[in-house]
Symmetry: C2
């Protein structure tokens, strides 16, 4: 896997550089590969698309899943030019990706001004201790909805 | 804020129910509100859009940021029918939202079959202890790219 890992990871870095120079967003790129074939590529588009969720890994996952017409990317590997932030790492779990390969570390991303480390710390805290103001407002309607989901005969779990 | 919170949260639940019945995905809805005005609505579209990142909160954030033409939602509140998963919680931080209001808990979402709790546990672990196979492959090109970002005079931090 060594040479192939380096090949795909260099592509992720090249995507990051290309779109950095085009002014699309932060210096991040990602590639999703299955059975040796690239099925999705992404780069950071936060500031150009006005989409705070448009990180490279999210975009690569969205495109890969769209390309294969499935919401599971089981069996695939994601190559990221930099260690994923918690949003992207969680998306990797939701996408059921098998494997992650990354080059720069989250600490290095933090050192150039991205908030990955802060968000990792916040997410690990109990809800009441986070800096985000948070209100739990239980509603009967919300509980009834979950029951409705369980009773739905054609529901598709993911 | 009490009545207004209940009003917007009930809208998030109503969106969840409406799109559950339409078969769009899991039973989740979200609304982003700024200055009393709804600027973005979302519902789960994972299985219908074949997009593992298409959770209600992500979709509401994407639409709200697109609607106001900015990548920051500072000053806004997000109402979620269910406590956000780590992906969505991290997106809330990246979007600089001021406040989160939710109805059902992550434990309740886990109880009806969603993996929120597992992903919260995984993300809190050191990288080497996660169930996701993970390879750190440092590349000179990736480090050079971060330097290039810092030297870019017109870079837009976020």
């Amino acid at each position: 896997m060594g040479d192939s890992d380096t090949f795909h990871l260099l592509r992720a870095v090249a995507l990051a550089r290309e779109h950095l120079l085009l002014g699309h967003g932060g210096p991040f790129g990602a590639v999703v590969v299955r059975d040796g074939t690239v099925i999705g590529e992404g780069w950071n588009e936060v500031t150009s698309a006005n989409d705070p969720s448009a990180h490279a890994e999210i975009m690569a996952i969205r495109r890969a899943a769209g390309a294969i017409g499935a919401f599971s990317l089981a069996g695939a590997t994601i190559y990221a030019s930099s260690e994923p932030c918690p949003m992207c790492l969680a998306a990797i779990y939701w996408a059921r990706l098998d494997r992650l390969v990354f080059a720069a570390t989250a600490a290095q991303a933090t050192a150039i001004g991205f908030d990955d480390a802060m968000i990792y710390r916040e997410i690990a805290k109990p809800a009441g201790e986070r800096r985000l103001a948070c209100t739990h407002l239980p509603l009967d309607e919300a509980e009834a909805l979950f029951d409705e989901w369980l009773r739905k005969p054609d529901r598709i779990p993911y």
